[in-house]
Amino acid sequence: MKRMGTITVWRDIGASPDRNGSTERRSVVIVGAGPVGLTLALALGRRGHDVLVLEKRTFIAAASKAICFSKRSLDIWDTLGVADTMVERGVIWNVGKVFWGARPTPIYQFDTAPIKDQRMPGFINLQQYHCEEILLHGLAALPNVELRWGHELTGVQRSEDQVSAEVATPGGQYHIEAEWLIACDGAKSPARELLGLPFDGRVFEDNFLIADVKFKEERPSERWFWFDPAFNPGQSALLHKQPDDVWRLDFQLGPGIDKQACVRPEAVEPLVRGLLGPDVEFQEEWYSVYNFQCRRMERFIHGRVIFAGDSAHLVSPFGARGCNGGVADADNLAWKLDLLLRGKASVALLETYNTEAIAIADENILNSTRSTDFITPKSQASRVLRDAVLQLAEQHAFARPFVNSGRLSTAVAFANSPLSTPDEDEWNGVPPGGAATDAPLGGGWLLQALAGQFGLLSDNFDAEIAGIKSVQLAKHTVHHGVLRKRYDLSDGAAYLFRPDQYVAARWRQPNREKVLAALHRAQARNSGGVKP
């Protein structure tokens, strides 16, 4: 495959034309055409907004990078019309197995999709370049979204009501005045650097080797994780299946190693053969050594510049919380920015992106840091407890919940969102601030019926409020046992969902006034500043 510097090219797109010396006015400029920037472009573009995406590269990188996409990300992409293609292209998996030492059978296994009867699977594995291709294909249908390749952000100036961006192209420089600039420009975010904003956190010393290799062999579509395996003593290892006979092998190497030496084929091969068997015939797809960091910006909104994804927060890879966390950011931001751009909400709503996306990032950082500390114990006591857990887990069910090889990404609940209306009744089901769980509805699915809008789920109650999509069970002849149980729906009860499928409010006895008040609250309209 072709290389650009040290990066291998999946698909060469070529530089978009120069715009030397020009100045243009745009509504939303997104910096970065990774999965987060492209998801946001799709979410805003489908809502009719003028979106310009700037990407400094002129190609899609071949490195598979992010490969595990959660059900929550698929639910989000389903509202954007691209989830089916992702699932068709990807490898579906739900089972994770944990091995310890030389034992041939797992000491523990888990199901990433314990709640069945949902449209989307628990997880798919898909190379990041396939994910990006599918998002780009979705964007191609939107004339209001423009992508420019080989256009690099080199300057940012913020003012009260706009942001000025300097952009460099292969042949020159030009200027954009935008209402909003969304920095989805990755861990080394040029936008963050240009604004001189801090990115504090913790660096982990352990090194890990990614060996993506290609081979033909029938193996189950499961996540296999090893603690202290015979083929990598004292360390950990991970095996994941990707499409096209590509497999992700990830080996812990420890601190203080020669990073150049350990990606050489002669160093990688014994590890690969140790994991897969001595006679396996394989080819290198992508070898890379990384050590990871947990960092977060203090705020994600800086005037008219908003950060999403890796530019705003970094986690360890255990639990697939990096890219999925970024997709959650894009989803949380899109509907709020949409209402703001249409004059239906104020910056008070946008400010809840800051609080909710930080809640997502903090939960992801907490979980991935705990996984990291279990996988790579940082003290003797931590190692002794970890090994005691592994030893007990082999025989005793009680110890298995302690085994932490990565807590896999799920939707983060917002316990204290200002957009939620607290319950006035006794409930099980999904509480305000929780993400909707899918369930069969009529011949289809609840999340599809909600369609990325404000939605009211009930038997036959309709608040008849403009901007709320009514989903009434009484209009379907089938019995909705699963859905009723999942939402603890009694006769006459109702749920109000936000456009991102989070529960805003619910009532045993709803009426129009209650629904209207909850809708206004979910749009942060009670803070004033916007015409009713």
Partner: protein, 65 residues
């Protein structure tokens, strides 16, 4: 039960104490550490109450409770 019991709670205290001492018999330093870790995990799960476990950690650490 949601409060850590710090009053005498074992009828045959001498028996239980001796059982604990005997359990460590013949173990080297590493084995002792591993054994203690397993025992703590087993007992913590049996207790099952986060507040009680936290309170026990505080008492063991010598903090005022």
């Amino acid at each position: 039960m949601s409060k850590l019991v710090l009053d005498p709670n074992i009828v045959h205290a001498d028996e239980v104490y001796q059982t604990l001492v005997d359990a460590y018999e013949g173990l080297d330093a590493g084995e002792r550490e591993a054994f203690s870790a397993r025992l703590i995990l087993i007992l913590a799960n049996h207790i099952g109450n986060e507040q009680v476990i936290r309170a026990a950690i505080d008492v063991a650490r010598g903090d005022d409770v």
